[in-house]
Symmetry: D2
């Protein structure tokens, strides 16, 4: 796969304009993005949790979907109309109490019309993922 | 499958106590739940949308996950520790502008340890689903 | 959705030429196909079973994938190069001993580039599905 | 995760007795299995292909499902009644003409009741997977 077409700073600037809802920039940080992988961090907050202390499914699904979009943007440049067509998530473990959630995304395929990737969701410093996602984005053709 | 073990009013009361984050009761209403199916309505708000006017993926995933939990509660009674193990979503269409989102959930299997269901997500009065979800819940054994 | 672009006889003739491996016509019959749904029947044979008498996963996945292709062909006409991009299957129940397996496929979306459908897999005359599949096909553009 | 509870030779012997349909041992070889990962090789044959030279979906799904069972057996020992509950596959690329197909499976979670894993399907010596699978097995409790 090719080099990144957007730096982390470029991706952030694009998202602040195009995706103000998803990326207020307060609780989610893009730690890296290189055209093939990216790493996102979502700061811990009580709002993430469901009863029992598990990180909620919607928190993890939203973060994974966003991580896939970030790695795709870094790979193809500023394309606003890419849309998720499929997302599959397996929930694996409870997270560590009070820890940030990390999303490690990686492109498995970057085609002209479809991009497929996987995302590992991690809690704090534990190497065992709390959830695993595969997802497909449809890329608009010009 | 058996009759409902909780009425809609029972499910709502349980959720207000156990799931205050997911169910404030302001924007999501449980219109029906009978132990095998349920129907939820999420009132339209601008916050649902991503750029281009599409209902956002996280909104749809969260609503579908919640609908599966509601139909499961209505089937098995007040079990707080059931957790989603898998969720697969296919995004199909943009919704109608300004319309509520509806979630029609249906149990495909209710086993002792696992429940599997499908959820159609609809926009306003259109019969064509905007997304389709299948999901598995793990049921704690006593 | 539009009417069928190929009749069952047309689809069968196309498949005998283009897909001799999948469709020898001996054990799988296309009972109907109307551009939006189709019904396939796979005659029972011992080869379908895994130990314990369950219909094997690969048998069900292959039949569901084929049913999606049949309903798609009936909808778009003789397009040889459509390929599956995603398939998700939930296994729900053991089948009835000695019974045929039926696949009821239905298109959820027929777009220009992607078609999404669901398939219920049934055993004999039981109304409870033994497995449920959602699947996406990529349609080549001319 | 713990060490393997069965060696490759143990797994093969178990499968020849319990799974004669899936494991004739002629075309699929277990190259390694260590309780956490396994590697299978399916020898190339024309029967694998669909028109256009793509490795057929059912071939890949069957091999991935089998690889998940092999890694699970190596992790938990000779448990005949473990069954797949969910399998999700993304098809990514055509394979290399005339090449063997390899399946690299890895457990993401080994719980008491559920095991979740992922499988990369590879063609010949290319590092780019032709398909990616996640799958869940239900483990019988004694």
């Amino acid at each position: 796969m090719a080099l990144a077409k957007m730096s982390v700073a470029d991706v952030e600037q694009f998202l602040r304009v195009e995706f103000p809802q998803a990326f207020s920039g307060d609780d989610i940080m893009i730690e890296s993005a290189d055209g093939q992988t990216c790493l996102l961090r979502q700061r811990f907050s009580e709002k993430m949790l469901r009863p029992g202390g598990t990180v909620s499914g919607p928190t993890l699904m939203a973060l994974a979907d966003f991580a896939m979009y970030v790695v795709l943007l870094s790979a193809i440049g500023p394309v606003g109309l890419a849309v998720t067509t499929n997302l599959n998530i397996n929930f694996l473990r409870k997270g560590q109490p009070g820890q940030d959630v990390l999303a490690e995304a990686r492109l498995l395929k970057l085609g002209k019309r479809l991009a497929v990737g996987e995302v590992k969701l991690l809690s704090g410093t534990s190497p065992d993922p709390i959830a695993h996602v595969t997802s497909t984005y449809s890329i608009p053709t010009v």
